[in-house]
Amino acid sequence: MASYSTNEFRGGLKVMLDGDPCVILENEFVKPGKGQAFNRVKLRNLNTNRVWERTFKSGESLEAADVMDLDMEYVYSDGEFWHFMKTDGSFEQFAADEKAVGDCVKWLKEQEVYSVTLYNGAPLNVSPPNFVELEVVDTDPGLKGDTAQGGSKPATLSTGAVVNVPLFIEVGELLRVDTRKNEYVARAKG
């Protein structure tokens, strides 16, 4: 596997540290005029999601992590694993466990495309697209005519996610939802 020296460290670079794959967030070069140079580096451990701060002597290197982000279509769940398929026409499938799917589980909809992070060929993390369109399966009855007024109510979506929606939304409607903020955006044109 390739390795990267501190002067190649950039935000987004994936490296191995203490046996875990990490992504570099920030790299600060520190050097007294006449002295040894160091790099103060912030990394996110992709296994635990924790942020680490480490200092390296400049010129040191870290092994590259065999990590890549691929677009994959969600196919189905067998109760234990969630199965995803590459969108490159290869039909190759990958099984993600509960840890890899994490919070994304509440946005999983069949045939929708997700970003799957593979580490050594196995799913490490699944992230939803910024926006998904989902059907309302449960909410209090809508208030007719109340389209301008403020106020909101919880609505349960087909994937199990619960978001606050305007009072006029009814069961069966298709909504566009922002997955980053867990927020209703608009009625989807379906």
């Binding site: 070069f29 050097k31 007294p32 005029g33 160091f38 701060e53 002597k57």
Partner: protein, 320 residues
């Protein structure tokens, strides 16, 4: 090489480029009024610098095979001094390989000047005149290097063994002890412990460095222990300049070149041939003098309130 859409544009605003021009003009006026001669020396020299932690950029297809972009105009300016130039200054473009970050660019502007007959303290006064004149800040206080290590890092580089220094450096920086040499420990404590503390004070001169950090400064006895007659100025925690009461002894200079190369070898860095013309000049006789190199880009950063050096450069390394 990927070129992004906006990469062709300057990184610094036009307003900051005007501030740079005004700064250069005021520096020239400052030295002109004091009768210091402006000089120019080669940017591309036959010899590189031997200092272990500076990387001279190598250039091929010149001279008889290889030359070096200068990391500072020091060697050439000392040859002028030995030839009887009197007080001189230079605004030099200098190059240091592998230095890039918020406070570093591999190519930068160094204001370097030499004062025959000046002791270190006298030159510090002149540095203060220049910096206070430009920034309008208060006059720098003076702090002894040993006292700073003692009070801020709880170590004494003159008394403590390697183990104590390395342990403290590891604690402050998080670097594992096995990777830290004595020299690294002093640098780490300076960068991770002392500099951040100085950031909260006004401008500060740090003086009288441990003898192993002398570089080209004279070593002298001070209150019964040997120090490097070296000073640095920190403003808001930013290292602005580095000055010496200059080493004038050719024999000791030759020994320091050899010492540097031994250290370079242990760090697996290429040895640098000693600049025989500098040695010859020192043998001829360098007048007793003090000299200082000041980072003009950093002075400009402080003047305009920039947080990164790229904000004051028309085209920093990633747009060059």
């Amino acid at each position: 090489m990927t070129v992004q859409g906006d990469d062709w544009r300057p990184a610094a605003s036009l307003e900051r480029l005007r501030a740079r021009a005004a700064l250069l003009a005021s520096v020239r006026a400052f030295f002109s009024a004091r009768g210091v001669l402006e000089v120019e020396t080669p940017v591309l020299g036959r010899f590189g610098v031997s200092e272990p932690h500076l990387h001279s950029v190598s250039v091929t297809s010149v001279f008889d095979g290889e030359g070096f972009l200068q990391t500072s105009p020091e060697y050439h300016m000392k040859r002028l001094l030995a030839a009887g130039s009197g007080p001189i200054y230079q605004i030099a473009r200098v190059f240091r390989g592998d230095e890039q970050g918020g406070r570093h660019n591999p190519e930068f502007s160094l204001l370097e000047w030499y004062r025959p007959g000046f002791g270190m303290e006298q030159l510090m006064e002149e540095v203060a005149d220049l910096v206070v004149g430009v920034l309008g800040c208060e006059r720098p206080s003076v702090r002894d290097c040993r006292e700073l290590y003692r009070t801020l890092a709880d170590v004494d580089p003159w008394e403590d063994g390697d183990a104590e220094l390395v342990e403290a450096a590891s604690e402050f920086s998080g670097v594992v002890q096995e990777q830290i040499s004595r020299g690294d420990a002093l640098d780490l404590l300076m960068s991770f412990c002392i500099e951040p503390a100085l950031a909260e004070q006004g401008p500060v001169f740090v003086v009288n460095y441990p003898p192993e950090q002398a570089a080209l400064a004279r070593r002298d006895l001070h209150q019964g222990y040997t120090v490097a007659r070296r000073f640095e100025l920190y403003v808001q925690g930013l290292e602005l300049c580095n000055g010496y009461q200059e080493l004038a002894d050719a024999k000791e200079q030759r020994e320091r070149f050899a010492e540097d190369n031994r250290l370079r070898q242990s760090l697996e860095r290429r040895p640098m041939e000693a600049d025989s013309r500098l040695i010859a000049a020192l043998s001829h006789g360098l007048p007793e003098c003090s000299g200082v190199a000041l980072g003009l880009d950093r002075l400009l950063m402080l003047l305009v309130g920039a947080s990164s050096i790229s904000e004051v450069l028309a085209f920093p390394a990633d747009r060059a």
